[in-house]
Amino acid sequence: MSAVVDEHDHHADDHHDHGPAKGILRWIVTTNHKDIGTMYLVFALAMFFVGGAMAMVIRAELFEPGLQFVDPAFFNSMTTMHALVMVFGAVMPAFVGLANWQIPLMIGAADMALPRMNNMSFWLLVAGVLLLASTLFMEGGAPNGGWTLYPPLVLQPITVGKALPFAVFSVHLLGISSIMGAINIIATITNMRAPSMRMMDMPLFVWTWLITGFLLIAVMPVFAGAVTMLLTDKFFHTSFFNAAGGGDPVLYEHIFWFFGHPEVYIMILPTFGVASTIIPIFARKPLFGYASMVWATGAIAFLAFIVWAHHMFTAGMPLAGELYFMYATMIIAIPTGVKVFNWTATMWDGAMTFETPMLFSIAFVVLFTMGGFTGLMMSIAPSDFQYHDTYFIVAHFHYTLVPASIFMLMAAGYFWLPKWTGHMYNEKIGQLHFWLSAISVNILFFPQHFLGLAGMPRRIPDYAVQFADWNMISSIGGFIFGASQLLFLYIVIDTVRGGTGEKVTDEVWEDAAKHGLEWTLPSPVPYHTWTTPPAIVPTEHVLDSH
């Protein structure tokens, strides 16, 4: 902590707010948490459109039965790359961007604890994603074995071509970037809080990111290890996963899902934090059950580590294993339920208004809960035999990732953009964007439940004729959803360039300063903030408990 503050004080002897450096170098070498946050967010938004374009290819091919546009191998590449780009290029970096921007503001810290590492973790992310994208242009095409990269498929020369080592090194870079980001966030939260802020005074967003940070540090190396074993199997004739050499392909699934399951919580826990920040402000009430929200987040994170094999109910496990993973998975419904009930209780008896961030948040609670319900259905192992690897699963995880993670990232954008830029976004277009997104996302994903239950496997480029109608509806929803997101791009650019011209107050939202430190700062937020830590923590539940 002191190192950063000292350095800053040293440079700014005469006056504190000397603002950002000029020119391109400002962005390349910056150590300012706001600049780095902005870069993360811009990069994530760009990748959201790249991953989205791949989804459009998928939905176009599935519009009608028969093959129209792409070869099945390229279709598999698209499903694989869509997943990898969305997970590692869009959702995770977007949350890191939010963390960079908001956590120091929320806890009264001048910057992140390790600002130079912060810069490096961003640029490693860019390098990793570019390396991944380069595989699209390689002989044999991009990886097409699914984002799970299961061997032996992903090791087959006739399937995958030359892309595997590049994909693996890309995963290494992305993993290093994530781990460095997580270390930075944990160090910042534990060391740089304003002196008056106890752990249980921290905003929920900070809590959820702290816990997410530990998840990242725990599981990213596991994934790196798994893909490294793939690499040695492929190039150094080891047999970790090669049955002919005494290895076990199911071992890979265990290692992958030990990473892969917590990974889905990495993409949802910060979402919970954003929702817990936004809903109280627009309900004009303190968050209901702050302490149980914290404990529920911790419980979910713990459970995330011990349920991985519910992705493998059909892989072949002893009965005891099936039962254990079934019970453990079912239990996740309890802390998750507590969170949903608490958000409902926060809205109850409030004085609600429905600005765009609140609309997205309400849609999040409803649609995420629906994704949670199907998750509960899938936790029942015998039923999961029928759901597994069908479109029911696709519908489930897209309900938890698109109208949950992505919607809350949008909500966070609308919520904090006025704070960051000092300009108000265009509320009319914002609401239009919301309604188009909320309606089309359901046209897109709800019919996929029917497809799965009717027996359509996932990851197939062509399908039996009885699946045609729902696929067509789903594709139409997909195209509308994809096109609607261009509105968001427009709003972001418009807001940065001045928005509605309306001058926003420091609080931006009515009485927001009662809910968090960041609203006591000027809008736009100055380049340097909290060079002296704030004295009091103005969170409502804190004022009561002090």
């Binding site: 002989e139 020369p157 059950g289 079934m326 507590v338 208004t353 009717a454």
Partner: protein, 375 residues
Amino acid sequence: MNKAKQLFAGLILMALGLGAAQADYTLNLTKGVTKVSNDIYDLHMLILWICVIVGIGVFGTMFYSIYHHRKSKGHKAAQFHENTTVEIIWTIVPTLILIGMAIPATKTMLELDNVAKSDMTIQVTGRQWYWDYKYLDNDIHFESHLDEASEITHRTVGADPRSVPHYLLNVDKPLVIPVNKKVRFVLTSGDVIHSWWVPALGWKKDANPGFINEAWASVDKAGTYRGQCTELCGRDHGFMPIVVIAMEQPDYDAWVKKTLDQQKQKPDLSDQSREQLMAHGQSVYLKNCVGCHQINGAGVPGLIPALTGSVIATGKWESLDGFLRAGTAKMPSFSKLNGKEFAEVMTYVRNNLGNSVGDTLQPKQTALPDDDDDE
């Protein structure tokens, strides 16, 4: 209930201008033809209804407050933010609901896992991209490939899938089992991970290379049941369907006898006309070669060599023959084919797919002495 749902879906479809829906689409899991699949259907409905009721409670409360507790209606916000009793209630009640779900789920899981006392065993081997079935009790052994009509249609851009009966869900040789017998399945794979799923039986199970998985089914009702591979297994993952025909015992016995007789027959090595060779050759090609080399012989650039204009395909037939039988690092050995099939497929490859060597190979030329023992 189902009628109401169908009607509702029909209305949505009509509203979207899509006309009448396909007759056999469904909105919900269907009941299968085994006891386990019916138990699973009941479990599915139980949990679905629990979710619906919880959902109505939560969303109802939320929308009540959204409607009534609006600032625009002048509602003043309360400031409560803790209530230990309430928070304990919404931990304990879900726990009790979960226990209520876990009990029937555990029962069904125990039933599914019990493969003991089976009447017969079938070994299922997944391969890229077809299924290989072996009846361990009577040595019936055959491969089950996607049917030719679907094969040609899905590989032809612009072809109309709606003209093909059971498009992508039909095979050349279906698996046949007797009804009301406990059939044990042992599943494994010859290359990558596949997954064997027939929804009507109530389970799916992965076929892993190097390992054996077990499952069982006892089908209540004679009929034809269809499914597909559900684990991403490469380029043709979407094109390896499963068809199971359940027969009454006398029909099944007759099928076993007929199939065993056919298996004992030696391949007919008599000469064929060029047209016959080409037509049969196409069938052999569609089953064995098309997954990699494509329907036009173009291969996959960078991954799989083209047959069109290939020196190996159009050079001396004897070297092509040796190549096919031995296999390579990338291509499996095709020694499973008999002399007749070799003559047919080589004639086809050398005189179609953009090649025109002009020779006509007869089964007698390509047969090996032990070909008679094949199959």
